[in-house]
């Protein structure tokens, strides 16, 4: 009897894993089939207004890159503060708040940026979108930096100090270098996460059918356009949405796998 229960239980558990994998396969197969059948290299050459995706892909990459440019230095220095300088209550308060912010609804971040940037500046803009993504990214970078620095042995810091290096030299030359791989992986995963975000961009950057590098106006976004296209009645728009989703997913998965590969190689 005990053995039977055991068998049933184990069977159910394996079944669950099978269901999970089946969903993954289902989503990926759908995406590849629909995406590939609508995929064409001309999508990379034409803008949305001409039926292509060029401006959207470039726009999304610019938004995410700009967000990283803002978010990575801020997140890293804040993480350094928590792990290396912070003492007692304040540092752990910041750590807790950052943890909460990491799980804050992304649409709320969008609404926040809408209120503090879009409304005062009179319209949606690339800057607003990038800042919304940066706010999403900061707590993730803080979390990675904090936990990766905490893995650096205390002795390594002491050895630097014992040689007569000042604290910030030790942090920059030794501690960060020692934690480099972990931090880089974390940042890559954070980048993969924000590049696939839609909700924070809906009313900050919005999207645009045209190629644009002007960050002061509505900015082309792949994800926001996917949402628009997918809701349009024409079959052709939806096919374009699938092709765009396929490209987006490939980008996200490549970045993700690169991150994992780096860590694994290091080990």
């Amino acid at each position: 009897m005990r053995l039977l229960i055991n068998k049933i239980f184990l069977g159910l558990s394996i079944l669950s894993a099978g269901i999970g994998l089946a969903f993954l396969a289902w989503i990926l197969i759908t995406l590849f089939m629909k995406g590939l059948s609508s995929f064409h290299f001309s999508l990379f050459l034409n803008d949305l207004i001409e039926g292509g995706l060029r401006n959207l892909i470039i726009g999304q990459l610019i938004l995410a890159a700009l967000a990283s440019l803002i978010g990575i230095p801020l997140g890293m220095t804040a993480g350094i503060y928590i792990q290396e300088y912070g003492q007692g209550k304040y540092a752990s308060l910041i750590r807790d708040l950052s943890d909460i912010m990491m799980s804050a609804p992304s649409i709320v971040i969008g609404a926040f940026v809408y209120a503090i940037i879009v409304v005062p500046t009179g319209g949606t803009s690339g800057w607003a979108g990038a800042i919304a993504l940066a706010i999403m990214m900061i707590p993730v970078v803080i979390n990675t930096t904090d936990s990766m620095l905490s893995l650096v042995p205390r002795e390594l810091r002491e050895a630097g100090i014992a040689l007569g290096a000042s604290k910030y030299k030790v942090i920059i030359d030794i501690v960060i270098k020692a934690a480099k791989v972990g931090i880089m992986t974390g940042i890559l995963l954070a980048f993969a996460r924000i590049i696939g975000e839609t909700a924070p961009l809906l009313f900050t950057s919005e999207t645009s059918n045209y190629f644009s590098l002007n960050l002061n106006e509505s900015f082309p976004s792949l994800t926001v356009s996917i949402y628009d296209l997918a809701n349009e009645p024409e079959e052709s728009s939806r096919d374009l949405a699938w092709a765009a989703s396929f490209i987006l997913t490939v980008i996200v998965l490549i970045i993700n796998l690169t991150g994992r590969f780096i860590t694994r190689n290091k080990k």
């Binding site: 558990s13 669950s16 993954l24 220095t77 804040a78 804050a104 709320v108 209120a115 994800t223």
Partner: protein, 332 residues
């Protein structure tokens, strides 16, 4: 130099605090007009963007007289009258200036529908994802051989990395028709939205539950096996009790994710401000209400959306804090 660097890092850390407080204050001040207008009754009011007649000054005077003479003559204040079908947001001041119109109208907003939609879709997601996620976690932590566990683990984590908008599209065009075919009713509904949301939080929930289970010391498991316990008994009697707090924390954290999810739900929930009567009726959730109405809204309507955002922010703040600071801290 040392000082500058230290100050700089302190400033960045403080930015987190400023941002979080800033988000709260900004949402609050943007929601202030709606909060002043509707108060806490907003939460229980099922009407959204509905024009109602407000009594004019003369009406009020008449009613005051009526109140004095006869109680029965009072019109029930809760009984709101629909002025017209026009969806345009009425500007109250403009209407007051309009001397021809005797019955002045105003637009009211209530948050009950999206709040209920958010809670119910999350609940469905949880009911659907919980058993499967637990099964996957047990499989990864205890059953699968190490190499299989690693591969499946990576696959599950990749599923977690897929952008939520993809889940929404897949859900709308491929998953919902099948669900509707089985259950009946609309393809866009609370049920399909909840299920797709469940699929979306599944990998996240499974991954962090597995991590919690992995904290069980090997010695503990080995001593149970040494007594002749089966795998099921070890999992039930040793691993679950040991990592219980961490598992609960993981579940609540996944719940926090589900509450704030926009895109996976936006494709499927139907986006109409109507309370669902059945599980396969369409309705709306807070993030979806924001996503689909922010662009067009202005004035009080926009403020009401900020009110919703504030409510969502507070709920998820509370849920996440509970998970992180009660359960997950305790688990450590």
């Amino acid at each position: 130099m040392e000082k500058i660097f230290q100050k700089l890092s302190l400033a960045s850390a403080t930015l987190v605090f400023v941002l979080l407080v800033g988000i709260f204050l900004t949402l609050y001040s943007a929601a202030k007009p709606a909060i002043d207008e509707f108060g806490l009754g907003f939460i229980t009011n099922p009407e959204w963007n509905k024009e109602v007649v407000v009594p004019t000054a003369q009406d009020t005077a008449n009613r005051a007289e009526a109140l004095n003479s006869d109680d029965d003559a009072i019109t029930d204040e809760d009984d709101v009258m629909i002025a017209d079908e026009d969806d345009e947001i009425a500007d109250e001041d403009e209407m007051l200036l309009d001397d021809e119109d005797e019955s002045v109208t105003k637009t009211i907003y209530g948050g009950l529908v999206p709040i209920v939609g958010t809670l119910l879709s999350t609940l469905i997601a949880l009911v659907f994802a919980l058993p499967i996620a637990m099964g996957i976690a047990v499989f990864l932590a205890e059953i699968a051989p190490k190499n299989i566990s690693n591969i499946v683990g990576i696959a599950i984590e990749l599923l977690a990395a897929i952008p939520s908008i993809i889940f929404g599209m897949w859900g709308l065009y491929y998953f919902a028709p099948i669900v509707a075919g089985i259950v009946g009713g609309y393809q866009v509904s609370l049920l399909t939205a909840g299920l797709v949301l469940g699929v979306m939080i599944l990998p996240f929930m499974a991954a962090i539950t597995r991590d919690s289970m992995n904290t069980t010391p090997a010695v503990l498991k080995e001593s149970a096996y040494a007594l002749g316990a089966t795998k099921f008994e070890v999992i039930k009697d040793i691993i679950f009790p040991y990592s219980k707090v961490g598992i609960i924390g993981s579940i609540i954290l996944a719940l926090g994710r589900a509450l704030g999810e926009t895109m996976a739900v936006a494709f499927l929930i139907g986006s109409i401000f109507v309370l669902p009567k059945a599980i396969n009726d369409p309705t709306i959730s807070i993030p979806v209400a924001m996503a689909n109405n922010f662009g067009e809204a202005s004035g009080l309507g926009e403020s009401a959306l900020f009110y919703l955002a504030l409510i969502l922010f507070i709920i998820s703040f509370a849920v996440i804090s509970l998970a992180k600071f009660y359960f997950l801290k305790k688990a450590k």
